[in-house]
């Protein structure tokens, strides 16, 4: 097989390249185009509750004509009310802190898993994945029982004598952080574990031989080498956490401002699908930036590995 590829081979190899693009088109670009189109329309009392800006069936010339007079009123509206950018910021803040907390808890966990004897690892890996066997919603509900005033946590702490009277944790931001960190921890641990497990232990031996303490070797070798795992895990936690709706509405207080809730209100309370679509489009644009950063770091990682 040293000769030039046959035409058939060329087609096959080209097709395999196109599969991911087709995937992207079907599951990302097409829904996005629909939401973006909706964000340009006007609300109405009808079924469905908006007047479309144009129809995909209009024909190109027609769409082009209508494109010229598109109204970006919904986007302008969003910039006029401080609620929206405050909600975006607060969501980003909650997501950043949650991601950091996940990393803080997840890294030692993944590190430990990657360092135990090889025959233990599958069991530990299964224990990390095990919670997924129970519905996400039920697991978040369970936290209500743990965190509420008469809940297990307060009873335990009272029994220990650490606190004099029950703490109010449920319906506060603290509960939201607990919920997010708990729910997304596996997404942090798994990529980190995959990365740490692959690292060559002889590198650490070499560092030891050259007089590096174990601590220094960890910071100078293990952590930098696991960078791509840290980025992958962080993105897997950060991105869904920004748009999180269920956890803040079940565990959070009324004042926990998150963009997911604003979106919900626009959609369900105001029945303003166009504005809620505009909110969603902006949210997506905000999220695309870290995704692109991730892609770049991945690409760099691959090049470095070569």
């Amino acid at each position: 097989m040293t000769g030039a590829p046959t035409p058939l081979q060329r087609i096959v190899s080209r097709a395999t390249i196109w599969v991911p693009y087709l995937w992207l088109l079907l599951l990302f670009l097409a829904p996005f185009a629909m939401v973006a189109k909706l964000s340009l329309s006007e609300p109405a009392i009808a079924q469905p509750p908006y007047i479309p800006a144009f129809f995909f069936s209009d024909g190109l010339a027609d769409i082009w004509a209508k494109l010229q007079q598109f109204s970006f009123a919904n986007y302008v509206f969003i910039t006029q009310d401080s609620l929206y950018w405050k909600a975006y910021l607060s969501s980003l803040q909650i997501a950043v802190i949650s991601t950091f907390l996940c990393l803080l808890v997840g890294y030692p966990l993944a590190y430990g898993m990657a360092r135990v004897p090889r025959n233990w690892r599958p069991t530990l890996l299964m224990l990390v994945v095990l919670p997924f066997w129970t519905s996400f919603l039920i697991r978040v509900y369970a936290w209500i029982g743990i965190l509420k005033k008469e809940g297990l946590l307060n009873q335990f702490l009272l029994w220990l004598g650490v606190i004099g009277e029950p703490l109010t944790i449920l319906n506060t931001s603290t509960a939201v952080y607990v919920g997010i960190v708990y729910s997304y921890l596996p997404f942090m641990v798994l990529p980190l574990y995959a990365n740490l497990e692959r690292q060559d232990p002889t590198l650490l031996e070499a560092a030891n031989d050259l007089g590096c303490t174990r601590m220094a070797a960890f910071w100078k070798i293990t952590v930098p080498l696991s960078f791509s795992g840290i980025v992958a895990g962080s993105l897997l936690v950060f991105i869904p956490a920004v748009g999180e709706f269920v956890i803040p509405s079940l565990l959070g207080g009324s004042d926990t401002l998150m963009i997911g809730r604003v979106l919900f209100d626009e959609f369900f309370q105001n029945r303003d699908w166009p504005v809620s679509s505009a909110v969603a489009v902006i949210l997506l644009l905000i999220l695309i930036v870290p995704i692109m950063l991730f892609q770049r770091s991945e690409a760099r990682g691959r090049e470095a590995g070569r």
Binding site: Q47, D81, E150, G253, L257, D265, F268, Q269
Partner: protein, 362 residues
């Protein structure tokens, strides 16, 4: 010739059996509020008619409305409240009822129909299932320690009074369409006001309530009140009676009371209607007609502690339901209740925005 006849007979028998099998497959998809029916009613209906009931629940008008407006819900019967029903009729979501299939309409109560006519003129699209008020539920023991039974909206709207309840927990319905009118009414304005300045005033009053509120939620308060996790809730009458019942059953010393405040309360109506794109229209009518039987709706009311719009059912109601003025208010109380009409899109946005401000301070 005989064999031909025999074949024909056999064929028709098979067709008849197939028809019966099809009859057994008849279903009706009902989407109703959570904790809102005695489930044995559904079983009885299935037994009697052979129509299988697929029963699903929601806890907010907004969720129901969004599903309806998106279309293709797959539901044959839905139960929106009056103001929502009116807007949904306007959006063309429902089909007119075929009154020839609803002989039990004669059991309905004209007093209630007169009020629901405001949402659905002539009762063309919906029948009343239950009605009730939006008032204050409270833990009787806790209220006594804090200055006696709750009788007025001042307990909720005067910050120094509400602050007394903060330590034991306050829940408020997450429903701007109920709370803004309540605040307007307390301020002496028209509770059905669509005036943006007046809505701002209501917002300012409601905002003062927030620091003392643990959660804005429309269903958690039932269990929370019953368990003694909270001791004050702005909620729907029947839900609070259910909390009262659950507390009594649990027998842990929690006693729950309900007040229609002396300033008046919102009276609301939950209406059964059939979406335009329903697949089982025949069965939906059968179900609605069944619900309008006096003994059936009486059973439901006795179970959920809500008043119904069925006059003939009154004599079949338990005494504790019919004679409880909080469920079936006396004329004096009834006179103080108010009803609201739907907001247009602009006012709706202002109301939702005000409510977000109330909840988040933003």
């Amino acid at each position: 010739m005989k064999s031909v006849l025999r074949t024909l007979a056999a064929t028709s028998a098979i067709i008849a059996i197939a028809g019966m099998a099809q009859a057994e497959d008849r279903i009706v998809n009902v989407y109703n509020w959570s904790d809102y029916i005695d489930e044995s009613i559904l079983k009885d209906f299935e037994k009697e008619t052979g129509v299988k009931v697929v029963y699903d629940t929601f806890d907010s008008n907004e969720i129901l409305e969004t599903k309806l407006l998106a279309g293709g819900t797959g539901y044959d019967i839905v139960v929106p409240s009056g103001t929502f029903l009116a807007r949904q009729i306007q959006a063309g979501v429902f089909q007119p009822l075929d009154k020839s299939k609803l002989p039990n309409l004669s059991n309905m109560w004209d007093v209630i129909s007169a009020r629901t006519d405001k949402y659905d003129p002539g009762g063309q699209h919906a029948i009343n299932y239950m009605w009730g008020t939006t008032g204050i539920g409270y833990n009787v023991g806790a209220a006594k320690e804090r200055g006696g039974e709750v009788v007025s909206w001042s307990t909720v709207f005067e910050p120094d009074q509400l602050a007394k309840y903060k330590d034991c927990g306050v829940h408020v319905l997450d429903a701007p369409e109920e709370l803004i009118p309540a605040a307007l009414n307390y301020l002496g304005k028209n509770p059905d006001s669509k005036d943006l300045d007046e809505i701002k005033e209501a917002e300012a009053l409601l905002e003062k309530m927030t620091p003392n509120v643990q959660k804005f939620h429309s269903s958690e308060y039932i269990n929370a009140l019953a368990n003694g996790d909270i001791c004050l809730a702005v909620g729907w009458s029947g839900d609070i009676f259910q909390a009262r019942d659950r507390a009594a059953e649990a027998d842990k010393g929690v006693e729950v009371g309900y007040a229609i405040p002396k300033e008046g309360a919102l009276m609301w109506f939950d209406m059964m209607a059939i979406p335009k794109d329903a697949n089982n229209v025949e069965e939906a009518h059968e179900f609605i007609n069944y619900i309008m039987r006096p003994e059936v709706i009486a059973k439901a009311s006795n179970y959920v502690f809500y008043a119904n719009g069925n006059a003939a059912s009154k004599e079949l109601l338990d005494k504790e339901v019919l004679e409880d003025p909080a469920i079936y208010p006396d004329d004096a109380t009834l006179a103080k209740t108010y009803i609201t009409t739907p907001y247009n899109a602009r006012v709706q946005r202002a109301v939702t925005r005000a409510w977000t401000k109330v909840k988040t301070g933003q």
